[in-house]
Assembly symmetry: C2
Homo-oligomer: 411 residues x 2
């Protein structure tokens, strides 16, 4: 009994056509026309499998394949279908299609486990609309309430609460649909790695031990704008010089004080006024630090802050450091990790036990239930880009492993 | 016989009200409504002084106060009235108002020198519309022809040629109105320093010996975008790290290989996709290098290029360096510098012989005639910002010096 590569391919290709930017990767924001089309496609599949479908106030979809004991805690599996701007067709979708496919296999083989198996599709994982990642799973797991949904807003200033209503949902009921403690026996998410480790080491499967914690800061240096030609070097108060020195030392900081798993990234920089012949008066940049080991984050951030202060003084500029996002490192459930590993061995798959540098919806579930994650390789580690790719054979291997794992947990 | 502080103040204040961004500095782009209003104000003044006014195909205004010998080469003085976005009220305007004021003084005292004295207002010095600085003086001095005016265009893709036509000018005639060799005896421009040297040394006047040459480069590092959490440091091809290292070494490069007058500025940086949790795939920045001594530019650029290549290799990223602007260093005319200095001594003004880090319209005139420049202090060196300031007493001192110098050259 195995999953079907052809059906997996067909589902992924079909979903990739619900896309606001054909020719420039896949763009499917939550609550968009494309999101509606993708939801309709999936709901149609769920209907053909006779699943019990419920949709909460922000659009999280749950589709239940009933087990023999309808009162027993459910085994949940799924992921998300929203994307970043110009993203790829596998991120999120692999886990949703995988969940659909394993339920199809159970259905066609008339397998009825003790525990119900539920496909879950989380809304707005990427934060593309409201700049708040995993807003859907946060709502479903009680981390976001109505007040939070009214606070976060899109670039037009419209709140997630209002956008969800405009999409035909009833966000005022979102708190009633939260997952209750004891409701879920285990949550398994299949996802593309989004990193190059599996591809680099030629492994088909990653079994996730822990999800990295993270802290994101904005550092803003403020100096004095002046003419680039008329201001001698000794009279400058140049925030660009201070910023460049700090950014250029990030790798050194990680090597000096981080653990072997600490990573740090400056992904965004803003320069004001950003004109070639004007010394900037403001340079602001983000630093994203992650590690499965909280000590790595703690040490790197402390050293980083020290150097920021040093550079500000050396360049006679003001500085502000603000924490804009954070998440705690999460150890996944040892029992589930063990179940996945045994199943991988039985299937003869090459695998690596590894950490996830990215946060996923499953991490939101970790306080409520036992969580496991299965990674499949991302070619060259590319993700959130049009070139994002995972061979369908690897996705099928991940689906077969998901099937075996879920059947064992739900039996 | 001296200039009038009250009239100077009144003119500068009046011009500052022709402004697209009240409350946020002065914004007066060439060919805008505000430019039209400022031109009308000045043309009204010229009319009351019975000046012969001519306007060329791109809007350069020349207003002649006739000398006794109408065939003798003219003495020219003036500057520009266009500004950068959210600039100050003195840059350019000081030299135009100064030129107007000295002609007023000649007119009210019925002084008629041998040589005609001509006020000149150059169009589009700042390059705010077409990203090409000194486009007006380049046209007037033959450096730009019709083809060039058709090539440079604004952010809507409309050429300077077409915008000038829409403004009611006849750019097709621009080449006929070029200044001919022998037509101008000398050009003197009064301008705010735009740097902090005079303010720092408490001098009222700067007498410019030379205008710095400059080269501006765009350096583009291209690597691979990837997820900030899932990509180990050793698998990254990160253009931000390479860029930050180069930028952080600019000051060191100047100290190691520059002259005492070399300056270097990174004023603009672009990061793609510029998202906190994505390793950038492209970081591009400008480097503006200036020096009155060409050896300083040459040595700094060579060392800069070497380090750019080193950092690209170290971070496994591609790199491209493009020269986007350049100007040669210009020595101003020794005879004119001497005339200004003698006049400054006679007026009992504190002065400093200095270099100009910024290029000015006068530099465009240097191939056609003898050029001199008079600087007045910029408070704290601030320029191209709303806070730009020069005490009116200092502007009046500059105008008195301009008057004495022009009368001596035109007598």
């Amino acid at each position: 009994m195995e999953t079907s590569l052809e059906r997996i391919r067909k589902d992924i290709e079909a979903l990739s056509h619900f896309n606001a930017t054909p020719g420039c990767g896949v763009t499917r924001f939550s609550y968009s026309k494309e999101d509606r089309q993708a939801r309709d496609y999936l709901l149609e599949q769920f209907k053909s499998l006779d699943l019990d479908v419920s949709i909460d106030g922000v659009g999280n979809i749950r589709a239940r394949y009933l087990g023999k004991d309808s009162d027993a805690p459910i085994v949940m599996t799924g992921s998300h279908i929203d994307t970043v701007l110009n993203g790829g067709k596998f991120d999120g979708v692999a886990g949703v299609v995988g969940a659909l496919e394993i339920v199809r296999v159970m259905h066609e083989n008339d397998i009825r486990p003790t525990h119900s198996v539920e496909i879950v599709i989380f809304t707005e994982e990427e934060g593309s609309n409201f700049y708040s990642t995993m807003a859907g799973s946060k709502a479903l797991t009680g981390k976001y309430g109505i007040d939070d949904l009214k606070k976060i807003s899109n670039e037009n200033g419209v709140s997630m609460f209002d956008v969800a209503r405009q999409f035909g949902l009833t966000p005022e009921n979102v708190e009633e649909h939260r997952i209750r403690p004891g409701e879920v026996k285990a949550m398994i998410e299949l996802h593309v790695e989004q990193g190059a480790v599996l591809d680099d080491e030629k492994k088909t499967i990653g079994i996730v031990n822990a999800i990295a914690g993270m802290k994101t800061f904005v550092v803003t240096f403020t100096g004095k704008s002046n003419h680039a030609g008329t201001t001698p070097m000794y009279l400058r108060e140049n925030p660009m010089s201070a910023a460049a020195q700090v950014i250029s030392e990030v790798e050194d900081i990680l090597q000096q004080v981080g653990t072997h798993s600490t990573v740090g990234t400056v992904g965004k920089i803003i320069c004001v006024p950003n004109v070639p012949n004007v010394i900037p008066n403001k340079v602001a940049f983000t630093l994203d630090v992650r590690d499965v080991d909280p000590r790595g984050i703690r040490a790197a951030v402390a050293e980083f802050k020290k150097r920021v202060a040093d550079k500000a003084a050396a360049h006679k500029v003001e500085v502000d450091i603000s924490l804009i996002a954070q998440g705690q490192a999460i150890q996944l459930a040892g029992t589930v990790v063990g179940t996945i590993e045994t199943a991988a061995q039985e299937l003869g798959l090459t695998y690596k036990k590894m950490n996830s540098g990215a946060v996923h919806d499953s991490a939101m579930m970790a306080e409520l239930t036992d969580v496991g994650m299965i990674f499949v390789p991302s070619v060259a580690g590319r993700s959130h880009v049009p070139e994002e790719n995972t061979p369908f054979e690897d996705i099928k291997a991940g689906c077969d492993l998901l099937l075996k794992t879920v059947l064992r947990l739900a039996r």
